[in-house]
Structures are given as C-alpha cells and as structure tokens.
C-alpha cells in the first residue's frame, strides 16, 4: 500500500511536470521537472515514506524498464547492417572516454574521497 501511495505521488508530480513544461514551453521533459518537484516535496515529512517505498521498488528493477525500448533496435536493423560496426565503435570509445574523464576528474576534485580501496569490481 505504501509503494502504491508513493507511485501515486510520483505520477502526480510527473503529470505536474508535464503540465508545467507544456504551459511554459520549458526545455525540460515532464519527468525531469517532476524530479525537481519531488526534491521540493520531500521537505514535507509525510511524503517521504511512501516515496521511499515506490522509489526502492522502481529503482531496484530499473534495468527491466529499459528492455522495451532496447528491443526497438529491431526497427533499425537496416541502420545496424550499414553502420553497425562504426556505430558500435563510436559508442564503445565515447563511453570509455566519458567514464575515464569523469572518474579521473572527480578523483582530483575529491582528494578526500577515499572510502576504502577495494580489490575488484
């Protein structure tokens, strides 16, 4: 029930975000504005427990939610066959560049960030 109440809050805030984006022609998608609204709403104590229940459920299974869009690759098989190797090379290399730059940059910015070294993974 808690998670259901939380889901209701999340949906109301997403709808509010969509409405704001539409009404003021803002460059942000509805859910992003909803996220900002939720950050404000969390100041109110009774919002927290239901939101936590719903957020834990949704974020624990976050990767499931990407499957329907991911399967959409079948609609672009022509593109994959003509540019597939180049596309994959671009995506892999830029992902590594992005992760390396972010990690090295953050490490120099946070000299005190050492939260215990770890062996693997």
């Amino acid at each position: 029930m808690m998670a259901l109440r939380g889901l209701a809050i999340l949906l109301v805030l997403q709808a509010a975000g969509e409405a704001l984006a539409h009404a003021f022609a803002l460059p942000y998608p509805g859910p992003v504005l909803g996220m900002v609204l939720l950050l404000l709403a969390l100041q109110v104590s009774w919002v927290r427990a239901p939101v936590q229940a719903a957020a834990d459920l949704l974020l624990a299974h976050l990767s499931l939610l990407f499957v329907p869009i991911g399967v959409g690759v079948v609609t672009h098989l022509d593109l994959v066959s003509s540019y597939g190797v180049r596309l994959l090379a671009v995506i892999v290399l830029s992902t590594w560049v992005g992760m390396a730059v972010t990690a090295l940059f953050l490490r120099t910015l946070l000299p005190s960030a050492a939260e215990g070294p770890c062996g693997n993974d």
């Binding site: 997403q14 976050l62 690759v73």
Partner: protein, 238 residues
C-alpha cells in the same frame, strides 16, 4: 504445426504477449545473471533485448505489436525518473558538501562523452541525424528521446543508442576502472552513472551501495545538465 502457428499468431496479437514476454525473459535473464555471480557479460538487459529481439525477427512479429504489451513496463520509466529525486534526497548532506565537485565532474564527463561520440561519429562519416541521435546517449533513455527530438535527431535511435551505451558501460566499467586504478566506490559509481545512466546505475547498485548511491546522483545530475546544455550546444553549432 499449423495449429501451433495459428496459436502463435493469436497470442502474438494480444497485448498480453509483449508484457509477458518482457517480464518472463527479464526474470529468467536476472536469474542467470545471479547464477553467474553478476558477471558484467551476463547483463540481464543485454540478454533480454537479444532474446526478445531475436524472437520478433525470427517469427516476423512487428515491433509495434510487441510494444502494445511492453508499453505497460515502458510507462514506468516516467515515475522512475521522478523517483531519482529520492537517492539525491538521501545523500543531501554529501551533495551540499561535495555538490560543486560533483556538478563539475558530471558536466565535464557529460561533455566528454557526448563530444567524443559526435566527433568520432563525424570522423567515421555517419549521417547528420545519426550524429544528433548519438549526442544525448549518456542521458537516461526516456530523456534522451526528448533531447534528440529537440536537436533534430531520431528519438527511437537515441533510445537505442542510450540503451547500448548503458550496457557498454555496465559491461566494461569494472575493467576500465581496474586499468585506470580507480578504487573509490563513490568515484566509480559516479562515473558509471554519468555516462551509462540508469543501466549503469542499476549495475552499480548491484555491486556496492556507495557506488549505487553516487551513480544515482550522477544519473540525476546528467538528466538536468544535458537537457539544458545539449539543445544550446546544437543551437550554437547549427
């Protein structure tokens, strides 16, 4: 055999098919992932997409027909993006203390990821609308679609690129960070979340709580930064 084909045609035409196929395939993929000790290559999103996509292609089932059922899972991405405020809220004291450093790192990392993708794509002679669809690939898929639409890309392509980027990050982060000797969980999680958004954050959460929390922060920051910056960047370039 014809009975089976008729049964398949019937089942595949109801929304129940897409929903059931997605959930069952993912649950099995997740069990296999656990069985292999959460090895990066056993990523459940990757294998779910490969298996379901394979079935659609082999049986000639159209994507819209599949999506008629799968949309019930897809719809939850909206509230999931809203829910990202929760991990940010939980870490609010750290955010206040390290906010500037984290924002700068997310900004520089996001620009490096998007910039290198567009530059490499341009060097590899990819078409313009593909380049514009590549730019927002480090932002979580539902938001990437919105950004791609705004900068003249193809939303469906942007979503696929975002999902592939998420999987590449989730699959390779362990080895890349090992190579770079990055040991801090917070830094590893943050970098993975910045570049590989929700799929990277899901992976980080499964590996370490600190890494997961920082990946969640990074994912949220990237959504806010990229939505603001990418349309401006393409506006100036165009």
């Amino acid at each position: 055999m014809t009975d089976f084909v008729q049964l398949w045609v019937y089942l595949a035409s109801t929304p129940l098919f897409g929903l059931t196929a997605t959930l069952v395939t993912y649950v099995i993929a997740a069990i296999v992932y656990e069985r292999f000790g959460r090895a990066p290559w056993a990523n459940p999103v990757l294998w779910s997409v490969v298996c379901i996509g394979g079935v659609l292609v082999v049986t000639g089932t159209s994507y819209p027909r599949y999506f008629a059922g799968a949309q019930f899972i897809h719809v939850l991405l909206g509230p999931a993006v809203v829910a990202l405020a929760w991990p940010l809220w939980l870490r609010r004291s750290e955010l206040r203390r390290r906010g500037a450093a984290l924002t700068i790192a997310a900004l520089v990392g996001g620009i490096a990821a998007a910039g290198s993708a567009v530059a490499l794509g341009w060097a590899f002679d990819l078409p313009g609308d593909v380049l514009r669809s590549l730019a927002p690939k480090s932002v979580t898929a539902p938001v990437a679609m919105g950004i791609a639409d705004r900068i003249g890309g193809v939303p469906a392509l942007a979503a696929v690129f975002a999902v592939v980027t998420g999987m590449v990050g989730a699959l390779s982060a362990k080895y890349l960070f090992g190579l770079l000797r990055i040991d801090e969980w917070a830094v590893r999680g943050f970098a993975l979340g910045t570049v590989s958004h929700g799929i990277g954050a899901a992976r980080a959460l499964q590996v370490n709580a600190d890494a997961g929390a920082y990946a969640g922060i990074a994912l949220g920051l990237q959504v806010l930064l990229a939505t603001l910056i990418l349309p401006l960047a393409f506006h100036w370039l165009a």
